[in-house]
């Protein structure tokens, strides 16, 4: 399946399918497994400076009518020290992206330094910055909703790390392209969109919010048209120079094609793994569909990118 080879900036992966952060990827074993089941690369759960238990349960619920998930995991993670060590157990052939969160530029730098200190072995494809955390100094605002803060974070982080920096954008914003532009102007190597869409659920018997954290985020098929539009808008504003990685509700190979036509170079897959007894069933369906399409349309992935804008 040579035709599925994908380039994201300077890095090459065997196919454009990447595991989305927070899905299955909390342990070295599951990351390893998902890669060996066929994905082009895998992203870890978002890692912070300190261990975090996350929010009480229920924190991840499936909504079958709309083939979607609502979650409020709350960035549960063992912290960068333990996770840095854990990463060492992953074979070096696994293409790995480490997702990070923090609430200030300095903290992002510390997390990266820490991961690199404890994980001397595995070479990383990229760090993916999850900007959904509340800002340390400016109460109530997520770091990813202010272009200034995003610029500062990316600048600081770029100075620390020679590993490519991908910036993951939230759709819960008036104009996603403004944040995209800020990240790119500060040196981001790729943009990833979208994270989950603000959402919640209420139980009508107990009359209480269902998620332990009350509020959560929506992912899965319901948000595919939303993610697609985000990528389309980013491509239109930023052009083809900056690599875009699309995600949000991808569950069929046709969705992957749509994202690439909108301007993505590669895609991430998350909620779609729900209901598969084994991830490789989904992965091989997507890869096969994509391959046949490229052959049928006599086009390469690169040629396909952004064609919907023509």
């Amino acid at each position: 399946m040579k035709i599925l080879k994908t380039t994201i900036g300077n890095v090459e992966i065997r196919n454009p399918l990447i595991l989305a952060s927070g899905i299955l990827g909390s342990t070295y074993s599951s990351l390893k497994r998902l890669f060996h089941e066929g994905l082009g690369a895998v992203t870890t759960k978002s890692i912070g400076f300190k261990p975090r238990k996350g929010y009480p349960n229920p924190s991840v619920l499936y909504l079958p009518e709309i083939h979607s998930i609502i979650n409020a995991v709350g960035l549960a993670n063992p912290g960068c020290v333990k996770f840095g060590k854990e990463l060492q157990k992953i074979d070096s052939d696994v293409k790995l992206i480490v997702s990070l969160y923090a609430s200030s530029p300095e903290e992002f730098v510390s997390v990266i330094d820490c991961i690199r200190r404890y994980n001397k072995k595995t070479e990383l494809l990229a760090f993916e910055l999850n900007l959904s955390c509340p800002h340390a100094k400016r109460l109530g605002i997520a770091v990813g909703t202010d272009p200034e803060i995003v610029r500062e974070i990316v600048k600081k982080v770029k100075r620390t790390s020679r590993i490519p920096i991908w910036v993951k954008l939230t759709p819960n914003i008036t104009d996603i392209t403004k944040i995209g532009e800020a990240a790119v102007s500060a040196g981001a190597n790729a943009l990833v969109a979208i994270n989950t869409v603000k959402a919640m659920l209420i139980d009508i018997r107990t009359k209480k919010p269902i998620l332990g954290n009350i509020r959560g985020g929506l992912s899965g098929q319901a948000i595919k048209p939303v993610g697609l539009r985000a990528i389309y808008d980013l491509y239109e504003t930023l052009g083809s120079k900056i690599p875009l990685i699309g995600l949000g509700g991808i569950s069929k190979w046709e969705d992957v094609v749509e994202y690439i036509l909108a301007g993505a170079c590669a895609v991430e897959i998350g909620s779609a793994f729900t209901n598969y007894s084994s991830p490789n069933i989904l992965i091989s369906k997507l890869l096969k569909g994509l391959e046949s399409y490229l052959i049928h349309e006599e086009v390469s992935l690169e040629e396909l990118r952004g064609v919907a804008h023509e």
Binding site: G22, I23, L24, G25, S26, T27, Y28, S29, S30, L31, K32, R33, L34, K45, P51, R52, K53, G54, P56, N57, P58, S59, V60, L61, Y62, L63, P64, I69, N71, V73, A76, N77, P78, G79, K82, F83, K89, L201, D203, R205, T206, K208, I210, G212, S271, F273, T274, N275, S277
Partner: protein, 288 residues
């Protein structure tokens, strides 16, 4: 999962009946409101939601017609809060989840329960008795710290099965650890070992010992182990919280029941758990 009848969101039902099996274990039952009856396999579990508090995995303890029961042992904040709830209180049920026990064979059966590990095995015992068209031997070996923790003992003594109890303090049955008991029982019983299927649930350190014994008898493929000492978040295999090293299998969907030959390849088995934050902790340090 979405095709069959299944609660994807917690369905809040009033506690229909509640009684305490002992001072820290409550049996809660609920009437399922639906027309059709739900398919539940022994070993499967529900996420029980205490609204406004937290949600924890609890095995199905009994299920007949539309009544479903759970045996909950108070060990921490949420389980203790749930067992203090009274009848009519609303509890959310989400499930059933997970891969249950396989009952599709005609073998004789040994069931080994440690402590609250009896919870899913009670449902198994009744299913084996009621749904078998063949006659087979069923041996239940149940262990606990003390007599009052031998849950459902009187019920089991009335069933057409052989029972064998042991307590760590000697207050009932054999005086000693269940693992000692099993070793001798298996040695004695298993003349044609491959004619036996072994089911077990209990503290993971106990399960680990049982696996070793089964391996000594080359019975690991006849052994079905239900893990119930682990942190579960989503229940449907998506969040990654419950994956076990090194195979990268989930407890919540690939498990909680695993065959002995599979679990033998799991490095973490009986050694490490993972907490809500995903960090590992050694099993030896904590005791239930």
């Amino acid at each position: 999962m979405s095709e069959t009848y299944h609660y994807n969101l917690p369905v809040c039902l009033p506690i229909f009946r509640k009684y305490m099996e002992n001072e820290k274990t409550a049996i809660l039952s609920f009437l399922l409101p639906e027309e059709k009856s739900m398919k539940v396999v022994p070993g499967q579990y529900f996420m029980l939601w205490l609204p406004g508090d937290d949600e924890i995995p609890i095995a199905v303890n009994h299920y007949q017609k539309k009544t479903i029961s759970f045996a909950i042992c108070g060990v921490g904040p949420t389980s203790n809060a749930i067992i203090q709830k009274e009848e009519k209180c609303l509890i959310g049920l989400r499930g059933p989840f997970g891969n249950g026990f396989n009952l599709d064979h005609n073998k004789n059966v040994v069931i080994i329960a440690g402590g609250i590990g009896i919870a899913p095995l009670r449902f198994l015992v009744h299913q084996l008795i009621n749904n078998s068209f063949i006659s087979r031997k069923i041996i239940l070996i149940q262990g606990a710290r003390t007599k009052t923790e031998l849950l459902f003992r009187e019920e089991f003594e009335k069933l057409p099965i052989s029972t064998d109890f042991c307590t760590e303090d000697g207050s009932y049955g054999f005086h000693g650890l269940i693992s000692e008991k099993i070793e001798t029982t298996l040695d004695n019983l298993l003349d044609k070992p491959l004619n036996w299927e072994i089911y077990t649930c209990g503290p993971e350190l106990m399960l680990k010992k049982i696996l070793v014994i089964a391996q000594e008898h080359s019975l690991e493929r006849n052994l079905q182990i239900c893990l119930a000492d682990r942190y579960i978040r989503c229940g449907f295999g998506i969040c990654g919280s419950c994956f076990i090293d090194d195979l990268g299998l989930s407890i919540c969907q690939d498990g909680p029941v695993f065959r002995g030959d599979v679990i033998a390849r799991v490095d973490d088995f009986g050694k490490f758990g993972r907490g809500a934050d995903g960090s590992k902790y050694p099993f030896a340090n904590i005791g239930k």
